[in-house]
Symmetry: C2
Subunit: 194 residues, 2 copies
C-alpha cells in the first residue's frame, strides 16, 4: 500500500486507465483486487469507494470501448448517403477509435469469459459487427460492392484486418501514420495499382 503522502487522488476514469493496463497485461481472470491496489498505489478500500469490484471495472472499461464504437453509427456520415460511403466512414472511424482507445478496445477484443459482464460485452460486440454487416450487405445490394464475396465473410475479414492492429500498434511508433487510410485503401480498393 502506498503511504499517504504519495497517494494519488483517483477519479473513476483515472482508476480505469490503470485497471485496463493491468487487465491487458495479466488477463482479467488473472488479475486480483490486490494487483489493482498495488498498480494504482491505493488501498483496496479506496478502490471500493469508486466501484463495487473487479467486474464493475471491466464493465466500465469495455463499456468505454463499446460506447465509442456505437457512437460511430450515429455520426451523420454513417446515417446518410450511399451505403458504400456510409460503410467507408464506419470502417475508417472504427480504425480511428481502435487507435485512440487502444487499451480499451484491446481489452474488449480479448473478452472471452463467462461472467455476466463478459457475456454482455460479447453480445454488444456482435451487435456492432451485425450493424456493419448490414451496411455492407446494403452496399452489395446497391451494386456498390462486389457480389462475389459473401457479405458475412467480407465483414469477418474486414474486422479481422482492423482488429489485428491492436497486436502491433504502439502509439507514436514510427511507420504507423496513416493506419486508418491504409485500412480503407486496402478494404475498398485493394493493394493493386490502377
Amino acid at each position: 500500500m502506498a503511504d499517504n503522502s504519495t497517494r494519488t487522488a483517483y477519479t473513476v476514469d483515472s482508476l480505469l486507465a490503470v485497471t485496463v493496463g493491468v487487465f491487458n497485461e495479466r488477463g482479467y481472470d488473472g488479475t486480483s483486487m490486490e494487483d489493482l491496489s498495488r498498480a494504482a498505489g491505493i488501498s483496496k478500500s479506496s478502490i471500493y469507494h469508486h466501484v463495487r469490484g473487479k467486474e464493475e471495472l471491466l464493465r466500465l472499461a469495455v463499456g468505454r470501448a463499446l460506447d465509442a464504437l456505437f457512437a460511430i453509427l450515429d455520426e451523420a456520415e454513417a446515417e446518410t448517403g450511399p451505403p458504400v460511403d456510409r460503410l467507408e466512414h464506419v470502417v475508417r472511424r472504427t480504425a480511428e477509435v481502435l487507435l485512440s482507445e487502444l487499451p480499451y478496445v484491446t481489452l474488449l477484443l480479448r473478452v472471452r469469459g463467462n461472467t455476466a459482464t463478459e457475456q454482455w460485452a460479447l453480445e454488444r460486440r456482435r451487435d456492432f459487427d451485425h450493424r456493419v454487416a448490414e451496411l455492407l450487405r446494403a452496399a452489395v445490394t446497391a451494386g456498390e460492392l462486389r457480389a462475389d464475396v459473401e457479405p458475412r465473410l467480407a465483414t469477418r475479414l474486414l474486422f479481422g484486418m482492423i482488429n489485428s492492429i491492436v497486436e502491433w500498434y504502439r502509439p507514436g511508433a514510427k511507420g504507423t501514420d496513416g493506419v486508418a487510410d491504409a485500412v480503407v485503401h486496402l478494404a475498398f480498393d485493394g493493394l493493386r495499382a490502377r
Copy 2:
C-alpha cells in the same frame, strides 16, 4: 490411465493431433504431461517413448505449421513471374495452409512465451512475414501495387486479415467456402464493385 485393452497405438503424428488440440484449449503453459496423458488415453511413459516432453511436442506441432508455410515460398508460382503474381500466389496459399493445418497454425499464432522453442517459433514466423514483405515491396517497386500504402503496414494488415481466420473458421461450417478467394479479392482488388 487407460486400460490396456482400449489403449490406442500412437505414432508421433497422431499423438501430435491430440496434443495440439489440448494446447489450443488449455494454452501451452496451462497444459501438463498429465493432461496430455489423459487426453491421449495412454500413460506418460508411453508419451515419453515418442518425445522428450512437452516442449518437444510444441516444437513438432508449430514446426508442422511453419514447414507448410515455408514450403509455399518454394513453389514454382512463388519463385517465377511478376512479383504481384508471386505475392498473390503466396497470399492465397497462406490462407489455404491456414485452413488445411488449422489447429497447428492456430497454435503457432498463439505462441507468446519465453521457452527456447517459443522464441524459435516467433523468429521463424517473423522470417516468413519478412519474406512476404519483401515480395510486397518488390511488387510496389515494379509499379504493380499502389505506392501510397507503406509495405510494412500493408504486410501487417494482410497477415492480420489472414490470421484472423483462425478465430472463426470451423471446418465444414456453412458459408466458409471460397475463404482463400475472398482473401485474395479483398487484398488485391478491394470490395468495391468495378
